[in-house]
């Protein structure tokens, strides 16, 4: 029985978008509810897929819930969707963030109809990236995602929003331009766009050095992840984006970079990946330490969280290019973990800003008394971010570091890991410092009666906390699935 579940997951948000666009004189309330129903439906189906996912050993290395229809015959390109252990957690993450980002946008006043249309389109395109198994389809979804994010930052953002939106657009386009050249070269060498077929065939070519091919592909993902020194778009985009866009940006969009690296660069060109892994690991370590050091200096709450993302995505890069099964699984879990934790942190910053109309640390103080619920959730998010045991942050970082420390594939991994672990110390520094300044100093009178989170906001933020704790206490719920996707990839590296 084939219900095309993945197509439903990917395109339900688009259906919601069409309904919103065509609904005559839709009131703000109607628009919000349609968006919520579309996002929720997509989330529920993705949960169903998660529970029905075949976890038996026989399913290792196979795509599940596959759909395959010939799409562009002339270039032999298929409409081909499927999930494995690597992509499924990210799909769940995105559908979850889709629901929450609609909830935390509940109070949006400016052009709500367009706003929710863009949010839904964004969700669809990111889901498409995680599920497509055809390079052309993958690239198509990859590019679609640009347009809604550009408009979201540009219209509903704040501060230097136009500059930030442009920077985001141009950076990403540069990356995808190289990626397109890489994808087409791949096709020229192998005559297929099928990502399942491409993983594990040994590619040889006289046409283009494999090193060039590897870097054509990896640059786009490096910009997206972002890897130092391509990260400068990120703080600008985050700082100026509206809250929900920041949540999706940090939560799911950056993961496209990590996912692409594992799915394309490592699976397709494992030998080249091994060869250049030291370079990538050095960049990862620089990103971790530099990102954390810069974070310590930030006084804008949102910019602070944004730079902490640069540091945390360094762990992902380190995990990927340590190239062991454990470290790759750690990187995959770290992507999920960063998605929920940073998503929640951005949501909380958005709430604080909503109430106090400032994000400047120098103007905030002692809010614990005035907003008791927000402070609890914010603290949980912060503690998860610094890797407190019992939260998903700990599980992910521990597995990543354990994997990369024991890597024998790449020389010098132990040193890289030891330096990278220092990032955790710096993280504790800026998180605790931030929490202390915002919530725990003497209270300011001007914030008396600013109000706490309301019901919708509580639902949105508590659901994050549930996920953080659940996966933190019982990580196997995800690692079981992730390992099924990582195992065949780790085999390719030969260790």
């Amino acid at each position: 029985m084939n219900l095309n579940l993945l197509s439903w997951i990917v395109f339900l948000p688009v259906i919601g978008l069409i309904v919103i666009a065509l609904w005559p004189r839709a009131s703000q309330k109607t628009v919000k509810w349609i968006a919520l129903i579309a996002a929720l439906a997509s989330f529920i189906i993705s949960l169903y897929v998660f529970f029905m996912f075949d976890r038996s050993g026989a399913a290792i290395g196979h795509m599940q819930f596959e759909e395959k229809v010939l799409w562009i015959p002339a270039v032999n390109s298929y409409y081909h969707l499927g999930v494995d252990g690597l992509s499924l957690p990210l799909v769940i993450l995105m559908t979850f963030l889709g629901v929450v980002s609609v909830l935390i946008s509940w109070k949006i006043q400016l052009r709500p109809k367009e706003y929710f249309c863009w949010i839904l389109l964004l969700e669809s395109s990111i889901l498409g990236v995680f599920t497509s198994l055809d390079l052309i389809l993958f690239f198509l979804f990859w590019e679609v995602e640009l347009i809604p994010m550009y408009f979201l930052i540009n219209i509903w953002g704040s501060g230097r929003k136009e500059y930030a939106a442009y920077k985001y657009l141009i950076y990403t386009l540069v990356g995808s331009a190289f990626m397109l050249a890489g994808i087409l070269s791949t096709y020229f060498i192998t005559h297929t766009f099928d990502m399942t077929a491409l993983a594990g065939i040994s590619i040889t070519s006289s046409f283009i050095p494999l090193t060039v091919l590897f870097f054509l592909l990896v640059i786009g993902f490096c910009i997206k992840l972002p890897v130092f020194p391509f990260h400068t778009w990120l703080p600008d985009a985050h700082t100026n984006a509206p809250t929900a866009a920041s949540v999706i940006l940090a939560g799911a969009l950056l993961k496209m970079g990590g996912y692409g690296m594992i799915r394309l660069c490592v699976s397709m060109l494992p030998q080249v990946a091994v060869q250049y892994a030291p370079i990538m690991c050095i960049l990862a370590v620089i990103g971790i330490i530099y990102g954390a050091a810069v974070t310590l200096r930030q006084t804008d709450l949102k910019r602070l969280i944004a730079y902490s993302s640069v540091s945390h995505m360094g762990y992902v890069l380190l995990g990927i290019f340590a190239l062991t099964q454990v470290s790759l699984a750690g990187a995959a879990l770290q992507m999920f973990s960063h998605g929920v934790i940073t998503g929640l942190l951005f949501a909380m910053v958005g709430l604080v800003y909503d109430k106090t109309h400032t994000r400047d640390l120098n103007n905030l103080s002692g809010l614990a008394r005035q907003m008791p619920v927000i402070v609890v959730v914010f603290s949980i998010a912060g503690l998860a971010s610094l890797g407190l045991p019992g939260t998903v942050g700990f599980a992910a970082e521990f597995i990543t570091f354990a994997g990369s420390f024991s890597s024998t594939v790449i020389a010098g991994m132990k040193i890289f890991t030891l330096i990278a672990v220092l990032g955790v110390v710096l993280t504790s520094g800026y998180i605790l410092w931030m929490l202390q300044r915002v919530f725990y100093q003497y209270p300011l009178d001007k914030y008396n009666g600013v109000g706490d989170a309301d019901l919708v906001e509580k639902i949105a933020t508590f659901s994050f906390v549930v996920v953080i704790m659940l996966v933190g206490i019982y990580p196997a719920i995800l690692t079981n699935v992730i390992n099924m996707g990582i195992e065949p990839i780790a085999k390719l590296i030969g260790m």
């Binding site: 562009i72 002339a74 270039v75 198509l140 590019e143 096709y187 046409f207």
Partner: protein, 489 residues
């Protein structure tokens, strides 16, 4: 014998009859609103004739003067479609003229007639005559507004066009002098028999080829023959600009493809060498077009420069075709698909611009501020077209770029593709400048910008096809594959 062959030029004859009928009717009726209908009917009749020829096996008619093959027929349909869309978009624009409304439509149709002959011509003489027929009509059309800018544009176009024609003719003379023939298949036979291994060994052929490339370079606005584009695009009546930027350019590419693939497609050293000339020109063309487009503030000038850049992407396909000799179907298909996508996208953009500037009497990008509030549908249509020109999904522009770049990579032109993709990134900057103004700017006035139904239908048709081509390109790709198979490659 001759009578049998008349059916092969029935589309052209039909169009000619309607063009003349238009001038006649114009004399006798006072309600000029009927004129565009006659023009549209003429184009549709001609298109019907083209369709009757579609399944006819390809032939060379009139003593090898013209060829009837699906390649030519495809371009005839494309030109006719562009003509119909331009006429629909001109409908309210032309009502502003005091007189010569009939002549406007008649000249447009005559120019289309010239282009239709051009895409099926397989003889240097026919090619030249057809080119002049379309060019002379266009010289008049460009200066139709008779104000300072339009007249200047007309004069510039005339003088530079005349020089380009002369250069082309000079090149043709060299080729004729060398081969003793003007028909393309005969030239091909002669060239194949030449005991050469490089163009440099035969300066006559080299000069002939370079001059022919230069002559057509003017038509497709490739660097360094692009100087006329911005001024002419800005000064000409906007519908004429739209027509120039698509129909005339499409026909230019078609005839270059035909001349070079038919006459100079073999042997291998020859096509490799002219392909390299085109590839180098191409790299410069895209870069110059894109970099100069960045600083433009007038939307017509911006699209002028952007069309130079788009010509650059098209030349990627041309160069790939040259590199590929016998197996160039993907490259040629990519070229044709890109032309189809570009024609519809650029026309759509111009139709929206015509409708908007009819009301606000300005082509400055700053005056487009907040257009999404003043005219949501026009602004949305223009946004779709600009997204497609940038090459973003879900539009034809992305598929076209993937298709054409794929053809080039198959031929080992990776360096060219990398230059091209970097250029598409640059282009995003200025296309999004317009999008940004429309969506984010504060409108200068609250007054709504309305559009008439023909503009509406034309814009909606363009956008719909552009999006369908972007999501389900299969059928269109099959069509382009049919069209290239007849070219003998």
């Amino acid at each position: 014998m001759m009578m049998d062959q008349i059916r092969y030029i029935a589309p052209e004859l039909g169009l000619l009859c309607f063009a003349l009928l238009l001038v006649l009717v114009d004399l006798f009726i006072s309600n000029k609103r009927a004129l565009p209908f006659i023009a549209v009917i003429g184009a549709l009749v001609s298109a019907a004739f083209v369709l009757t020829l579609w399944s006819v096996p390809s032939v060379e008619a009139f003593n090898k003067m013209i060829a009837v093959d699906q390649f030519g027929l495809f371009f005839k349909l494309l030109i006719l479609a562009a003509t119909v869309l331009v006429v629909m978009a001109s409908h309210s624009y032309v009502l502003k003229f005091d007189k010569f409304q009939g002549e406007y439509y008649a000249l447009l149709m005559l120019s289309a007639l010239g282009l239709m002959l051009l895409v099926s011509a397989i003889n240097l003489i026919t090619i030249y005559v057809a080119l002049e027929l379309s060019s002379i009509s266009l010289y008049v059309l460009v200066s139709f507004l008779k104000d300072k800018q339009s007249s200047e544009a007309g004069l510039k176009y005339l003088i530079l066009g005349a020089v380009a024609s002369a250069i082309l003719l000079y090149g043709m003379a060299f080729v004729f002098g060398l081969t003793g023939n003007t028909c393309l298949p005969c030239i091909a036979d002669y060239v194949k028999g030449m005991p050469l291994t490089s163009l440099l060994q035969n300066p006559v052929l080299l000069i002939g080829l370079v001059l022919i490339i230069s002559g057509f370079g003017f038509k497709i606005a490739s660097v360094p023959f692009q100087m006329w584009v911005p001024d002419v695009y800005q000064g000409a009546p906007t519908p004429v600009t739209a027509y120039l930027s698509v129909a005339s350019k499409a026909a230019g590419f078609a005839v270059i493809a035909r001349i070079f693939m038919t006459a100079f497609g073999m042997p291998a050293w020859l096509h490799n060498e002219w392909a390299m000339i085109i590839a180098v020109l191409d790299a410069v063309t895209m870069t110059v077009g894109n970099l100069t487009a960045i600083v433009q503030t007038n939307v017509k000038r911006l699209l002028g420069y952007s069309s130079i850049a788009q010509a650059g992407y098209l030349m990627v396909g041309l160069a790939a075709m040259g590199m590929s000799s016998q197996s160039g179907n993907v490259a040629a298909g990519g070229l044709i698909f890109f032309l189809l996508s570009y024609t519809l996208t650029n026309l759509g953009a111009f139709i929206a611009i015509i409708a908007i500037s009819n009301k606000i009497n300005s082509d400055e990008i700053s005056d487009y501020a907040g257009m999404i509030k003043r005219s949501p549908l026009l602004a949305l249509g223009l946004t779709v077209c600009l997204i497609s020109l940038t090459g973003l999904p879900p539009t034809a522009g992305l598929i076209a770029k993937i298709y054409i770049f794929k053809g080039a990579i198959d031929q080992g032109l990776l360096w060219l593709v990398i230059i091209a993709v970097i250029n598409s990134v640059v282009s995003a900057y200025y296309y999004f400048k317009v999008v940004k103004a429309m969506w984010l700017g504060e409108p200068a006035s609250e007054e709504k910008v309305s559009s008439t139904w023909p503009e509406w239908v034309a814009l909606a048709a363009c956008c719909a096809i552009v999006v369908v081509m972007g999501i389900l390109p299969g059928a269109f790709i099959n069509l382009t594959q049919t069209a290239v198979k007849m070219l003998g490659i």
